[in-house]
């Protein structure tokens, strides 16, 4: 599962992970949950639906929405198709399910967990931070509130998957102070609501490696402070300061994530001269997937040497 502050590039990381993992030979499904407007479709450059659609070799994608997930859920729990049809076609029941708080989330999580039967790996592009935490609380609440019946049982199963050894949450962040604050807060919240859920990785998007020397920083500051600069000179210096700021913010963020939550940080470099626009969204996904794949291979080699 992947979550993080909105706008950090969660969907892109989820898609890139899917491609990297598929290339490594695993059958992977990448899903987004209840998206009204599919962002995964954009990341993969192909339309997707509620049923897994192939998007690359070994890789499928789907947008898990409520109504199809409900049918899947009823098929799984009620099992008799005539009765499933009766429930789905009863207008009162459909309103009841639609408005019962939490029903939506539990049904969707159930569908996501259900896909584990058919794939080696399921990568979930979860909602943004606070909403992901809200969603992950629901199985436990439902398990306690509904003391018997299939929801009780299914909620229990979902919880054991969330707590299990093969499940992990990654947080996607950016090298910005506010985003790092929220990442730290989110990490702590997750620890409180699901202490058994592993959160081993933070993906830091749009990083700039610190290559500027101290002397260059000094000179840039001196130039910026000097009077009588032309508009052109000002703009050059602003471009320099913005990039310098990003280098510094990258170093600060890496340092804080390491010292405050101590997880492994996977940095993604800022891509292309156009800051990510070049070649369109699919190209960006592919570039990020290659970066992940290289890292996976390096890690595997290191593990082999030891």
């Amino acid at each position: 599962m992947l979550t993080g502050k909105g706008g950090t590039g969660k969907t892109r990381v989820a898609a890139a992970m899917g491609l990297a993992s598929g290339e490594a030979g695993r059958r992977v499904l990448v899903v987004e949950v209840d998206a009204q407007r599919s962002a995964l479709a954009e990341a993969f450059g192909t339309p997707i639906s509620d049923t897994p659609t192939p998007v690359a070799s070994n890789v499928w994608a789907a947008n898990i929405t409520f109504k199809p997930a409900l049918r899947d859920w009823l098929d799984r729990t009620v099992r008799v198709s005539r009765i499933v049809g009766m429930i789905l076609n009863n207008p009162m029941v459909s309103v009841f399910l639609d408005v019962t708080p939490g029903a939506r989330e539990i049904v969707i999580l159930s569908a996501v967990v259900g896909h584990l039967d058919n794939f080696d790996q399921v990568i979930v592009d979860m909602p943004a931070s606070g909403h992901a935490v809200g969603m992950l609380k629901i199985p436990d609440t439902a398990h306690r509130l509904m003391r018997s019946g299939p929801i009780h049982d299914r909620a229990g199963e979902i919880m054991s998957v969330l707590r299990g050894p093969d499940t992990a949450m990654g947080i996607v962040a950016l090298p910005e102070e506010m985003v790092v604050n929220e990442t730290v807060e989110l990490f702590e919240n997750l620890g409180q609501i699901l202490p058994d859920l592993k959160v081993p990785l933070v993906f830091l998007n749009r990083c700039a490696a610190p290559t500027m020397t101290d002397d260059e920083h000094k000179l840039l500051a001196r130039l910026s402070a000097s009077s009588e600069l032309s508009d052109e000179a000002r703009e050059l210096l602003l471009a320099g300061r913005w990039d310098g700021e990003l280098e510094r913010a990258t170093a600060d963020s890496l340092g804080r994530l390491h010292s405050e939550i101590g997880v492994t940080v996977v940095p993604f470099p800022r891509l292309g001269v156009l800051g990510g626009f070049q070649g369109g969204p699919v190209k960006v996904t592919q570039q990020m997937a290659s970066a992940l794949r290289r890292r996976m291979l390096t890690e595997a080699r290191k593990a082999g040497e030891q």
Binding site: V93, T100, P101, E232
Partner: protein, 384 residues
């Protein structure tokens, strides 16, 4: 509508857009700008992550309206508030309960307790409630609402409907019929409904349905109160003085969400002032060679620094600027594509990116210093 009109004349501004585009900062900056015009402003955020506090330099503020300290020469007032679902829900129950007994029974009902603080969606149910309360109270000249990212923001528009739908008498009486009959004649009703009801019991567990029924029995009498509230909230959205503002950043995913929002708001007949595009990288629009404009002065200022510093920095600045220029061109193309979707009365405001992060009042005050209102979006020329 100009930015000045937005700030000076509106009574309720609802900021919508995807995450990470500076929506909270924009809400706070609009609030501060209005306070500078002498208005009393409340910025309300329903986002679970405590971002607003951060951008206002406050450590924490809760369900209470908290006044933000501004410079003395500012006549207006800036207040901020986070939505706390549980206490808003409790306050609502307090207000609509006909008597103490009903109130106590609701507040102690197990289903209510779970619904009010842990089930998804309650937050959005309560957001409108809180919004209505502060707008109608008349305590503020302007209320600015910062909504959560896209999916939930739409829930927020629909939420009064969802809550009231839950309490709709037809559904309630359908759901409660078996309980009513049990009470009256001591037997369950018959027919399809009975079968479906049994199934619901099977799905949710009978204990849950029983507790839910108790909860709904109590709530049933409150239906009229909720419905009136819902209608009032809906009418609030379409009152003159209310406007939605789409906030976005100049990148493809965020612009796609903005496009979606413009269409949704138009489809729902909700008033929308236009788009505020944050974090723009403005440029002079042409390539600049550092050697031509900076080398002399750079050599002069680097005499005490290590050799080649000036040369290295010039090369770096050239690369930095080419990146900026490319970025700026891509951003302008995106802005244009979005601008072409705007209606005659809608505007786009381009807000340049500031150096450093906005997390104090001073920086917040500078957000709109260099804002540019764009009214014309010529169609893309074929040479681009």
């Amino acid at each position: 509508m100009s930015l000045a009109t937005l700030i000076e004349d509106q009574r309720l501004i609802i900021c919508v857009g995807s995450g990470g585009v500076g929506k909270t900062t924009t809400a706070a900056a609009l609030g501060l700008a209005a306070a500078k015009k002498g208005r009393k402003v409340l910025v309300l955020t329903i986002d679970p992550a405590r971002r607003l506090a951060n951008s206002l330099g406050l450590r924490q503020f809760g369900n209470e309206e908290t006044r933000i300290q501004l410079a003395e020469e500012i006549d207006g007032e800036l207040w901020a508030m986070m939505l706390d679902t549980r206490s808003t829900f409790d306050a609502l129950i307090n207000r609509v309960s006909p008597d103490d007994d009903t109130r106590t029974r609701i507040l102690n009902n197990r289903v209510y307790r779970h619904v009010s603080d842990s089930f998804g969606g309650s937050q959005e149910y309560m957001a409108t409630e809180q919004l209505y309360e502060v707008v109608i109270s008349g305590r503020y000249d302007l209320v600015i609402l910062d909504t959560p990212p896209v999916k939930n923001a739409l829930d927020f528009l629909e939420s009064p409907g969802r809550l009231v739908q839950f309490l709709d008498k037809r559904i309630l009486s359908w759901f409660l019929a078996p309980y009513e009959e049990k009470r009256v004649v001591g037997r369950l009703f018959r027919g399809t409904s009975a079968v479906v009801f049994k199934l619901l019991g099977y799905i949710f567990g009978r204990e849950f349905l029983d507790e839910l029924a108790e909860f709904l029995f109590i709530f049933r009498d409150l239906y009229d109160g909720f419905r009136e509230r819902h209608e009032a909230v809906i009418s609030l959205f379409s009152t003159p003085g209310t406007t939605f503002t789409v906030v976005c950043a100049p990148n493809e995913p965020s612009v796609a969400v903005a496009r979606y929002f413009l269409a949704e708001l138009a489809g729902r007949d909700m008033p929308c002032a236009g788009v505020l595009m944050n974090q723009m990288h403005p440029t002079l629009g042409h390539e600049i060679q550092p050697a031509d404009v900076l080398t002399g002065i750079a050599q002069e200022l680097s005499s005490d620094l290590s050799e080649h510093t000036a040369t290295q920095l010039m090369a770096r600045l050239g690369a930095n600027h080419r990146r900026l220029l490319g970025l700026s061109r891509a951003e302008q193309a995106l802005a244009r594509s979005l601008g072409q979707l705007l209606g005659d009365s809608q505007r786009m405001w381009q807000v340049p990116r500031l150096e450093g992060e906005v997390h104090d009042i001073d920086a917040l005050g500078r957000v709109f210093d260099r804002v540019r209102q764009v009214n014309e979006f010529p169609p893309r020329s074929t040479t681009e």
